[in-house]
Symmetry: C2
Subunit: 101 residues, 2 copies
DNA sequence: TGGTAAATATAGGACAGCCTATATATTTAA
DNA sequence: TTAAATATATAGGCTGTCCTATATTTACCA
């Protein structure tokens, strides 16, 4: 089989990062661990940090560096974007979830 | 804003195709319309057909041609793959739905 | 019959999400 | 103070999801 789940299940990393940060501020390693809890696998550094960089560059998150740790949190824009994204996500995939309960 | 929803929300087209086909068999245009109902936008032909081709090549769906229509349905393998994919999906994103109700 | 519409297909390009590998900075431990 | 561990960063490559544009096949209608 070509993909782990039969079909491609990649995607929405940045969405998941925003969602996690809406719960509490975190640094990179904490984000990686939270994703691992959900997906079963930790995104590699080369996957996660470029995504964080991009989200920062477009102004959806901000990071405060203290020592070797950078603590990320949502900006106001990030919060609003996430609201729209969640709505789109639920409209697109909500029934999949409903269906399997 | 770079993306429509602030963060990237692309992805999981093949997953959604499999899920739709688990409800009933459909041809390409019907699949496109069902996706439009959910996402708000119809995938373009150049997006949808290569995805269908790939799913067929890896044996997750089969297509029966009658005239200009090709009716797609899941194979047994496709059904099993979808089951795994749904489980992964719910584990990864289920709380996003829970959260927004 | 001939032309248009509908459904499918393919080419070619952009970009996000994935990886491995390597590098840098900071902290901790020996 | 030096070595190892931790956190972040970057380079380079692959693939799926997106697009536009073009082509092909089949159906339908004038």
């Amino acid at each position: 089989m070509k993909y782990k789940y039969g079909c491609d299940m990649r995607g929405m990393l940045s969405f998941q990062i925003l969602w996690l940060l809406s719960k509490r501020q975190m640094h990179g390693e904490q984000i990686a661990k939270e994703i691992e809890k959900r997906r079963g696998e930790k995104p590699k550094a080369g996957t996660l940090y470029p995504a964080l960089k991009e989200l920062k560059e477009v102004g959806l998150i901000k990071g405060i560096k203290r020592g070797k740790l950078i603590t990320y949190s949502l900006t106001q824009t990030g919060r609003e974007s996430l609201r729209h994204a969640v709505r789109y996500f639920c409209r697109s995939f909500g029934e999949v979830f409903e269906d399997s309960r």
